[in-house]
Subunit: 314 residues, 2 copies
Amino acid sequence: MVTIRDVYAARPHVYRFLKPTPLHRYSGLNEASGLDLYVKHENHQPVGAFKVRGGLNLAAGLTAGQRAAGLFTASTGNHGQSIAFAARAFGMTATIAVPEGANEAKVQAMEGLGADVVAHGPDFDAAREWIAAVAQDAGGTFVGPTDDPLIAGVATLTLEIMEDLPDVDVIIVPVGAGSGVCGAAVVAKSINPAIKVIGVQSAQAPTQQLTWLNGAPTTGPMETFIEGVATRAPFDNTHALMAKYLDDFVLVDDDETRAAMLMLIEHTRNLPEGAAALPLAAALSMRSRLVNKKVAIDFSGGNITLAQLRELLA
Amino acid sequence: MVTIRDVYAARPHVYRFLKPTPLHRYSGLNEASGLDLYVKHENHQPVGAFKVRGGLNLAAGLTAGQRAAGLFTASTGNHGQSIAFAARAFGMTATIAVPEGANEAKVQAMEGLGADVVAHGPDFDAAREWIAAVAQDAGGTFVGPTDDPLIAGVATLTLEIMEDLPDVDVIIVPVGAGSGVCGAAVVAKSINPAIKVIGVQSAQAPTQQLTWLNGAPTTGPMETFIEGVATRAPFDNTHALMAKYLDDFVLVDDDETRAAMLMLIEHTRNLPEGAAALPLAAALSMRSRLVNKKVAIDFSGGNITLAQLRELLA
């Protein structure tokens, strides 16, 4: 189980290639929301999302032999960009399976980073099963979406939150496979157990939330437009951490997330992908619980296409 | 005349409140442009634009008596946000004159930072003359848009470029009043005179470029939609630096800038205000001169309104 020691061990690997991201407080956003929000800008990363921290930490921990055999993974987009970025940073090859019809901006970005991108299967899980077998045949490293070094790497973003805002009361994080929220929980709870860590998922894809509520793998519908949180199956290691640490796990409707995306564009002048607006949508839906609290919201990524942006603004 | 020593003196004041911003290379943007571009993300600043570095340096240099009497300035937006941010950081009042019809997002942002914003006159220069008189009556500090401490403060962004990309060949900067391009020139030329520093202005508002070409104050038309570079009158101190250091000063048509704004959104997933897209538009217009060169473009700010964004995407 990942601990805060693993997060400190990840820091030098992460900062060899990345800078800390800012935590900004926007007066217009706080006025409009009636809350005291602090926005953690993971969209400022070179690949536009928080996951790049994890890929670098994972790659840094491989042997020379493992590096020579390359990385293999499946992704709806941001995880794959993370692995592609890390592979390039460490001189490795990366082969990434995506579901057919994946976000074209993210596919191009992975290819631009030098990865070999292969479309396979109707969804993330189908692509993942296929590439895991490919990796085994090739003798390479298959990277699952929640491997422990990824959790420890992405958790460095929450250490930055603690450094910038030591009296944070609540941290709200979108949940896809769970590496982000688990990293936040490990760091925040280790430093101050009174900090509330809240996960948020789409009401149109609640598998992770149902699993957390029931304490056992539970599958729900999967009809969200937000590919970053469109996960069909729970993962053992992130659910063990969520069960241990998470204070709450809420759902927000995709229409509320669309409204939150517009609000973020208007008041932060940053582009959110859908997942990045879930924490704001969640905060608005539980406003009375957050009054007079310092609330950090994870702006997890900004990888939205022009077509998606046009549709949102129309 | 500002020197690189002033820029080093500004660093501790700037980094007391701000983090360095990233310089990102986007494979998609480079493929689309056919160039090797490095994007300096000043839109990641807490007020969404580079000028905040200058305000902090200016405020840090004031006496206790000057701080008690407050800051007064005029702005089309980003300079005012810088002064408002700096005033709040140092516990001062800020009174900011804006032209009537100023960018509402920027006005709200200044007010959100605690500034007293007063609309006066049809354009920047009318607002400026009026507030200078108000400052004198009140015994406060009038801050001009190109005061030397502002140039030295904003020049810290170019030191960051030199640290991240020491073999940069060309730096392209949008020119409003000139503090940004002069800061870039002072730093780049002091470290390596072979680095080309190029200013860019709208062909619909070429006063600064004409003044640079003629070596004497020259007024051109002022019909651009880009408020960040809509300056009517040249300034002595920035023109002395531009005359000394600038390798070229080019104009781009506002339609080219609109196309560059879309290209930046698509390939960087960052929102540019008009001025922030001028360097890309200029780079595209001089592509043959930039082949095989490392070109840093100053993404100077991101303060675009939802209405402006909708119009751009329509």
